[in-house]
Amino acid sequence: MTQLPAEEVAVPDFRIGAAQACTLSCLATEHGLTLTRFAYLICGDRDRAEDLVQDVLLAMHRRFGPVLPLADPVAYARRAIVNGNISWSRRSVSREIPTERLPEASTGFAEPDDQLWQLLGTLGRRQRAVLVLRYYLGYPDVDIAEMLGCRRATVRSLAARGLAELRVRLSAAQPGASS
């Protein structure tokens, strides 16, 4: 498993008092599936999603220890997953690791959702993150901007461009469809 250094998934400290703290173990057991699903949508690969969540949990342990003095550890972890995925793409391509699980077959689009899923993977990581945060988690732009550390105008541009590109590519893949 490839491990992200703590610095690359670091996010601002939104600390709370110890009385409100939850544990890393609690985060992993109660929200592990939620975080893995989110990571899967963010990166598009199940193995990498698990690695991302694993790395984020280890980074949180290194930073905070087993007790998390955070007001919203799930939100913290989600932000770290987004940043970790983007950082991942910037590192060496030689980090491929052997796996027992074969990649998902690319045998065409069995159903429309598959096509949209594949096309989502063609977007830039920032565009994809914005669309996942907006349409999966239902975050308003102000929260997405806060999570990604960018301006609301940036979120608007990323979302508009991402949707426009999806729409164009869907139309291209379905010649009979209206644009």
Binding site: E50, D141, L163
Partner: protein
Amino acid sequence: MTDTELEERLTAMLHRRADELTGAPSFRLEPTGRSRHRLAPLGVAAAVAAVVIAVGGTVVGIRSIHHATPAASTPAPSTPAPSSPTPSASTTTCTVGMPASWQRAISAGTIPLDHPYNEVISVRPGTGEYLVRQLTAQPTPSGLSGQATLALFDGKNGQDIATLPEGTEPVADGSAAIDAGWIVYGVHRPGGNSNYSKVVLHDRRTGHDRVLDQAGDADSGDQLIGDPVLFGGKVYWSEVNFAQNHSTIKSYDLSSGVTDAQPLPAVAIGLLDYGTGLAIERSGESSTSLANYLGAPLAQPVLAAAAGSGAEYFTFDGGTLRWWSGYPADVLYSNRPGSATVERLVVPAGSPGEFAGVNTWPFVATAAKGAGMVDLRANVLVSLPRGTDVLAVLDGKALIGTGADPLNTGLSLVPLDRLAPAHC
């Protein structure tokens, strides 16, 4: 397929894909002793000062903010240089907490406000004027409730410019939306996928508003994007069609009322008024780039450096053009118009967020609330408490947002001399 249909289809697909995962893997919760400091070289690079690169045959000085070495004094390379900047790094010297004296000064400078949420969205360089977007409630996934107000402040005194229709809010360029006679802004509806739906010009003398443009049918693919800007006696804005990789740069002459539309075979996601000229921010595959459009051009080496840096976005304020790369931002570049010198500031690891907004000397703040702010007087990264957000410096006073949740609930105006330079 309409935008709404695409959004519904995307939402359904994401939930179906997520639901495919039905069991969480077993996670290891403690490290096993691996090294965690792969980014340490950033710190090693702290002392490096100046390098020279050649871009397109022209020498560009990229210097540390620690050493104000003129570009002209640095030797030209004797061998061909890479076509994109790969300078050695400079960095801030340390990270410190916000001085207690600052907190006292911020409290003393509180501006009286009559709305619960207040966002500074534009400043007028060289004056004490700024625009504030005032909301009665924070935006939610379903949109914005209540009516938003656009207010113009001069120092601590504000006056309403417009009350917008229910569910919409004003957007404006960070430093090119106000002049002595006019204010230009866009009308945006949070929750939708469009950028903004109207370009509005406000006459400060008469108080009248004029709608200069409206976004077309969503299915047309045409979108108003970026923010409208005031430059050289005209209002400029961009209409983009992503599908056709095409833009139209539109303008309105403030004196004659004549409108114009110039086609552009590229996606212009923004217009940048950098004081002596107007540039187009073009969207590329992985980064954006600048192209001269009007007025005194940016120096070609600067354009080349911006293009080669992997810049994400650009801002202009306080006489300085800035852009940044990496995500979260790890490098901030800045340049004064007409200069071939590009300053490069490496942001310490663990300081995520774009260096954005309406920041002016001597501060550069991140857009992420509480993430930090560089005090350029001492090159120190000041870790701001959550809820404090340095926005701009106007007329010798720092404009500071307070109570971020995530929108600022309060504002404070503090004379710069009350904010002593932070020290390590």
